[in-house]
């Protein structure tokens, strides 16, 4: 490459190198167009594809090309190492090594670029795609340069001129040509004539006979045959080739059983896996993992060591560094089949629990986050303690999701970890922890929920209350009564008071009935004590949860005195209706 830098095209190309008279305005337009091109290229390297800033650059470069072709039918550019010429005049100059448009083209051998009228916006975007720097992610696999990419894009309105550098020299040495030619053909071919005349010569395939049969059968394809070939050609996708390559690698893996090259092939499969994840090929990637699992499970004649090797590969497939790549791929906007992604996750082992938990905090699209949560539910089942470590994450978002996952798993082992998160500073986390406690349920969960009753957030307190009945822990009654009888309890919102008393009644039933009735009947001695009134209303709703005739009777007695349309009247009517209804105590009575 060094050598190439020093070379300057030894012959003038298709445009004059000497200066010709070009209007300054025309040169200015080309200069600005090239600057805009460079800026757009940079923008594409900096921003993700869906960033609105890109559109601004895109519009600018498109407009400049359109304007230019308003007056001209082609834009020929002569490329030098540090300079670009248009009609013999310099329109771009840069002596730096970086961000140098001239050098960018020059180093790959491009010496002339001519955009033709009709160069569409689509072509322009393709062109920018060609010249933009490639993401590091794939650079190690990069076998292209600007020239190979231009060729692949097959631009209709772009012509270019390239010099090739073949440092190995002209392949055929002079001596070799001489040698090839020195075996010069014999001048005397009378022998050949003799053989031909005497019938020594062969009639290949008896061509005359074949003609009489018609070549069709021998050399032509029938309709069905053409269709078969066409189907095969249509099936030639990148994905199919990758599958084929994976097949070959697995076959090779078996051939290398017991040999030291087993490691090499296993390594290739692992790097294939990594490449596939890079490119979002989760379907093929999960096939690899699936086979790794099958093989490492034994029964395929692999040695202990070999089986371990494949298990390591599975572990690495869910490692912290792989998870980072997964996040990049999922956030890139690339189309990923969600089922394939789910399948990939499904093959990972317990070592992936923490990386995947962290991934939840990085992935933007909710459908991928859901897939991660589902995967963690299944991975976490037998690994509660590992999963629960996520509750200590510094990102509240992750803590919240881990809590949700623990809730979905429903294992009581999770309670001791959830207990620690119940005081988390982020209310969204505490709410999720409460829900998780509710879903796990049981007396111990009840105890932890009681701690939430002093939470600063009434919504969370109420949520905790609503889960209490599922805990089936009667010891909570005392705590509830204690809270309700605190002097400041009345100050709480009606909605919270109502839930407290409803829950108390639901759990305590007859045990708390006298207490509830007492609350219901407690008269207002002070005119306008609305707080007390609210307690009565709440008690009325609560009594609706106690399926007992005394409860109904108490409600009915208040009902006759309550002012129609008042909150108390509403509450009492509601509960009476509930208890006297077809499923209530009315029937029993």
């Amino acid at each position: 490459m060094e050598e190439l830098f020093q070379k300057i095209p030894d012959q003038p190309l298709k445009q004059p190198e000497e200066e010709t008279l070009v209007p300054e305005s025309e040169l200015k337009a080309v200069r600005e167009l090239l600057q805009s091109l460079l800026k757009t290229k940079r923008a594409f390297e900096m921003y993700p594809a869906n960033n609105p800033i890109l559109a601004k650059f895109q519009d600018d470069i498109c407009r400049r090309f359109d304007d230019f072709f308003g007056d001209a039918d082609k834009l020929p550019l002569l490329i030098r190492q540090q300079e670009i010429l248009y009609k013999g005049q310099s329109v771009y100059k840069n002596t730096e090594k970086d961000e140098n448009l001239a050098l960018l083209f020059y180093k790959d051998g491009l010496r002339e670029l001519t955009f033709l009228e009709g160069f569409s916006h689509e072509e322009l975007m393709d062109f920018i795609e060609v010249i933009r720097a490639k993401p590091d992610l794939l650079s190690e696999n990069w076998d292209d340069d600007i020239v190979t990419l231009l060729w692949e894009k097959d631009f209709a309105h772009l012509r270019y001129y390239v010099v090739e550098e073949f440092s190995d020299g002209e392949a055929l040495s002079e001596e070799e040509v001489q040698r090839l030619l020195s075996g010069e053909s014999s001048d005397d071919l009378s022998e050949a004539y003799k053989d031909a005349d005497e019938g020594e010569a062969k009639e290949i395939f008896s061509p005359l006979e074949s003609i009489s049969m018609g070549f069709k059968g021998v050399f032509s394809l029938g309709e069905e045959e053409v269709k078969t070939l066409k189907d095969e050609i249509e099936g030639l996708t990148d994905e199919k080739f990758l599958d084929e390559a994976i097949y070959c690698l697995f076959e090779s893996l078996f051939m290398e059983k017991g040999s030291q090259d087993f490691e090499l092939v296993a390594g290739s499969l692992e790097s294939a896996l990594s490449y596939l994840v890079h490119t979002g090929g989760f379907r093929t990637a999960s096939n690899i993992l699936k086979r790794f699992r099958e093989l490492s499970g034994g029964g395929e004649g692999l040695s202990q060591h070999e089986a371990e090797r494949l298990k390591t590969a599975i572990t690495r497939a869910g490692s912290e560094s792989r998870a980072k790549i997964i996040a990049e791929v999922l956030n890139s906007g690339r189309e990923i089949n969600i089922d394939d992604f789910r399948e990939y996750l499904g093959h990972l082992d317990r070592a992936s629990i923490i990386p995947l938990s962290n991934l939840m905090g990085e992935v933007q699209d909710i459908k991928y986050r859901k897939a991660l949560i589902d995967a963690l539910v299944s991975l976490g089942k037998d690994n509660i303690e590992v999963l629960a470590a996520g509750l200590k994450s510094g990102q509240w978002y992750i803590v919240r999701n881990v809590a949700a996952i623990l809730g979905r798993i429903g294992d009581k082992k999770a309670l001791e970890y959830l207990k620690q998160a119940v005081k988390h500073p982020e209310p969204k986390v505490r709410r999720e922890v409460v829900r998780a406690l509710g879903m796990v349920g049981g007396p111990k969960a009840g105890e932890i929920l009681l701690e939430v009753l002093d939470d600063t957030d009434p919504q969370i307190r109420m949520a905790a209350l609503r889960y209490l009945p599922q805990a089936q822990n009667y010891s909570v009654l005392d705590v509830l009564v204690e809270v309700i009888t605190r002097p400041d309890f009345e100050e709480r919102a009606l909605s919270e008071k109502r839930v407290f008393l409803e829950v108390l009644a639901e759990i305590g039933q007859e045990k708390v009935m006298p207490f509830m009735i007492k609350l219901l009947k407690k008269k207002n001695f002070l005119f306008g004590n609305s707080k007390n009134e609210e307690m009565r209303v709440s008690a009325a709703y609560g009594l609706g949860n106690i399926r007992h005739k005394d409860s109904l009777r108490a409600l009915e007695s208040v009902s006759s005195h309550a002012k129609k349309g008042s909150a108390l009247y509403e509450a009492v009517s509601y509960s009476v209706h509930k208890l006297a209804g077809p499923d209530g105590v009315g029937q029993e009575a």
């Binding site: 090839l180 010569a201 005359l208």
Partner: protein, 484 residues
């Protein structure tokens, strides 16, 4: 330092124009056939004529006039070459051969073309016999006018011989340059793999892209080069030959240029596993022992490992890996390596398998210690078709190589001797290839002039026909002298 310029050919691959072009050619073929069988009033005309009108409408969208041209072996709509799909291969070749036979270079269509015009045009063309070398297209145009057709007229066939020869010389020069660049790059890559140096595949890709450009323009020059077998270090030539043969098959199948590149690279690397086979074994003058065979038979598997080492896996490496692994697994799933899971080898692997067998059998230094003559190799392969080789792909291959394979020495009915240089793409005329003449009718050596055996004389009969085929090696004829 060599130059490459973007291909002068613009090939339209997909899109509505390409589709209309293909329908046009297809339906002209149907129309001509129909007019050979039926009267002008027959309902059999309805479909092709309606389809043709549709195709014409598609092409008239951009202009009110266009030309269907025949240049060399290819058809163009104005200056855009029409790429054919495997399905259209037969019509494509038939239309181009009819145009050549009638000595007409183009059909120009001007809007509006009526159904009646098309039918009459077909009958006129079928019965047209070119009157001799003087402006046959004008003669045909007179006939069209007499029949009241003004929307279609013919243009001259691009005057053959002189221009074509210069052109051919240029193309051959280009082909030669590209061929040896390919050999050089292959040698470089193989050496860097052998010495475990970093391997750069950009050069490989560029050189294969260059070959694709040539193949899409005209494949004969490169195929001629594959027939020369007397190079030193034949290994690298073999790689390049297999690659060229495979890409030529791919071209006939209508693969697009990116797919052809992929195929070419995979084919070039098919024997990459041999870099790990000891050179003493590969160059052994006698037959292999059982142990040596065991080593040689490992090269597909070694190929997979070699490709893994240089590149890991990506889209490009994937097809190369499949081909390196499977090119000795046969169509009937026998061959080697013996796999656990049996499956039909990849499409590319089957193409390379055919190309590899042919080049190996016809050269002295790989596998077969005594080379077969091209025709012998082809007839052996014909027996293997459907067993070892994919029978459909073999048909395509046989079409390329021809009844008289490239490099065959032939005696003509003029008593001239010639070397077959390019097969005739028309399956009906496989016995009429292009030939480089090496002696005149008195048996005296002449400088190689290329003649097309499908050329007809004044009276309408063929100017030259093959009467016998011979093996050039037997008479010390050096192909390099003519093909290089």
């Amino acid at each position: 330092m060599a130059e490459t310029v973007t291909s002068p050919f613009k090939t339209e691959g997909s899109g509505p124009i390409a589709k209309s072009s293909r329908i046009l050619i297809n339906q002209i073929q149907v129309l001509l056939r129909t007019s050979q069988i039926h009267d002008i009033g027959n309902v059999a005309f309805d479909r092709p004529v309606t389809n043709l009108i549709g195709a014409l409408d598609g092409l008239f969208k951009t202009d009110t006039e266009f030309a269907l041209r025949c240049r060399g072996e290819y058809l163009y709509i104005d200056d855009t070459r029409v790429r054919y799909d495997i399905e259209d291969m037969v019509s494509y070749e038939l239309v181009s051969s009819i145009m050549k036979e009638k000595k007409i270079g183009s059909f120009n269509f001007q809007k509006p073309v009526s159904q009646d015009d098309l039918k009459k045009f077909a009958f006129a063309l079928n019965s047209f016999v070119p009157p001799g070398p003087n402006q046959p297209e004008e003669e045909f145009n007179n006939i069209l006018k007499e029949r009241g057709i003004y929307s279609i007229w013919a243009g001259p066939l691009e005057e053959a011989e002189q221009i074509k020869l210069d052109d051919l010389a240029d193309r051959r020069k280009m082909a030669k340059k590209t061929y040896f660049q390919a050999v050089s790059v292959t040698r470089g890559v193989m050496n860097s793999i052998k010495s475990e140096q970093p391997t750069h595949l950009k050069k490989v890709k560029r050189v294969i892209q260059g070959i694709v450009d040539i193949i899409l323009g005209e494949e004969a020059s490169l195929l001629g080069l594959t027939a020369i077998k007397d190079f030193d270090e034949y290994t690298y030539n073999h790689c390049v030959n297999v690659s060229i043969l495979a890409m030529t098959i791919g071209q006939k199948l209508g693969l697009d240029k990116n797919m052809l590149t992929k195929l070419g690279i995979a084919a070039l690397f098919h024997d990459i596993g041999k870099v790990d086979v000891p050179i003493e074994i590969l160059n052994k003058p006698a037959s292999f022992t059982e142990d040596e065979w065991t080593v040689v038979r490992k090269h597909p598997e070694m190929g997979v490992k070699a490709i893994s080492k240089i590149r890991g896996l990506n889209e490009l490496a994937a097809s190369s890996m499949a081909v390196a692994f499977e090119h000795h697994i046969f169509y009937d799933l026998t061959g080697y390596p013996v796999t656990r899971e049996k499956k039909m080898p990849n499409f590319f692997s089957r193409i390379v398998s055919i190309s590899d067998q042919y080049d190996s059998m016809t050269s002295a230094r790989v596998y077969a210690r005594i080379p077969y003559s091209p025709d012998k190799a082809l007839s052996l392969m014909m027996e293997r078709s459907g067993v070892q080789l994919d029978p459909l792909l073999f048909k395509i291959f046989a079409n390329i190589i021809g009844v008289y394979p490239i490099g065959t020495l032939v005696m003509l009915d003029t008593r001239e001797l010639g070397l077959v240089f390019e097969s005739n793409p028309n399956p009906e005329k496989l016995d009429r290839p292009k030939v480089i003449l090496i002696t005149d009718s008195s048996g005296k050596r002449v400088a190689g002039k290329t003649v097309d055996l499908s050329e007809t004389g004044q009276a309408g009969g063929y100017r030259r026909s093959i009467i016998k085929a011979l093996d050039p090696k037997k008479y010390r004829i050096n192909l390099a002298e003519y093909f290089l």
